[in-house]
């Protein structure tokens, strides 16, 4: 199952907090697509997801400074 989370309007630390809480909610094997802005969220959300044992499948640019990070639990 694929879930979506938009954190483009969030600021530190809620960018990480919302991602972490959403990843905790979804089932093992589910996909989470996170919409985020470049800078701190783009640099660190995929890195911390990988460090915590999640699989970052893809990072792609959506438009402007918005990117989509696809994470598998």
């Amino acid at each position: 199952m694929t879930h979506t989370l938009d954190i483009t309007k969030e600021h530190c630390p809620m960018t990480f907090v919302k991602t972490k809480l959403k990843l905790a909610q979804i089932a093992e094997g589910d996909i989470l697509e996170v919409l985020l802005t470049d800078g701190e969220p783009l640099n660190n959300v995929p890195r911390s997801a990988t460090e915590q044992g999640f699989k970052v499948l893809d990072i792609s640019k959506v438009e402007g400074n918005i990117h989509k990070v696809t994470i598998q639990k």
Binding site: H11, M14, F16, V17, K20, S48
Partner: protein, 159 residues
């Protein structure tokens, strides 16, 4: 073996801005996989009181008076620009307007992320507070020795 990432914070200050710093660090660290401990002592205990406004919590008339003056999370003053309590209201409104998490939202996120909250036994004794005066997420009442043991091997900050 991977090194355990651990952050232990000593929340000594009871001011709105400093508590915001405590909970920003705590939630951010917990969200990126750190084990986080917060040890609340003295003025910092105001952040975890069940009664979030002003109430006479304490053991005797003097500590009850202190409890009333110190208050809880909703009435914490700012360390600068407090303006008799208007300052925190202005900051809260600025934070909401700019989509930045407020102190209350950060506390809620910290408990949702499983941040370990501890209260200082000595300060509680001085201020006549019991563990039942605190929110139920407070795991335990500790002294220095246990805090040092808990924080061993990680980073510690005093705010």
């Amino acid at each position: 073996m991977a090194e355990t990432k651990k952050l232990s914070l000593i929340a000594f200050s009871g001011e709105f801005d400093k508590l915001t710093a405590v909970f920003t660090l705590a939630t951010g660290a917990a969200a990126v996989g750190y084990e986080v401990n917060i040890f609340f002592t003295f003025w910092g205990l105001d952040a975890i009181k069940q009664k979030k406004g002003r109430s006479f919590v304490g053991g005797n008339w003097l500590t009850k008076m202190f409890g009333f003056m110190m208050g809880g999370l909703h009435v914490t003053p700012t360390s600068r620009f407090n303006f008799c309590g208007i300052g925190p209201k202005i900051f809260r409104s600025l934070m909401r307007k700019n989509n930045v998490a407020t102190l209350e939202e950060l506390v809620e996120a910290a408990t949702a992320l499983g941040v370990n909250l501890y209260a200082c036994e000595m300060a509680m004794h001085v201020l006549g507070l019991q563990q039942s005066d605190f929110i139920h997420e407070v795991k335990d009442t500790l002294g220095v020795a246990t805090f040092l043991e808990l924080s061993e091997g990680g980073r510690t900050m005093f705010i």
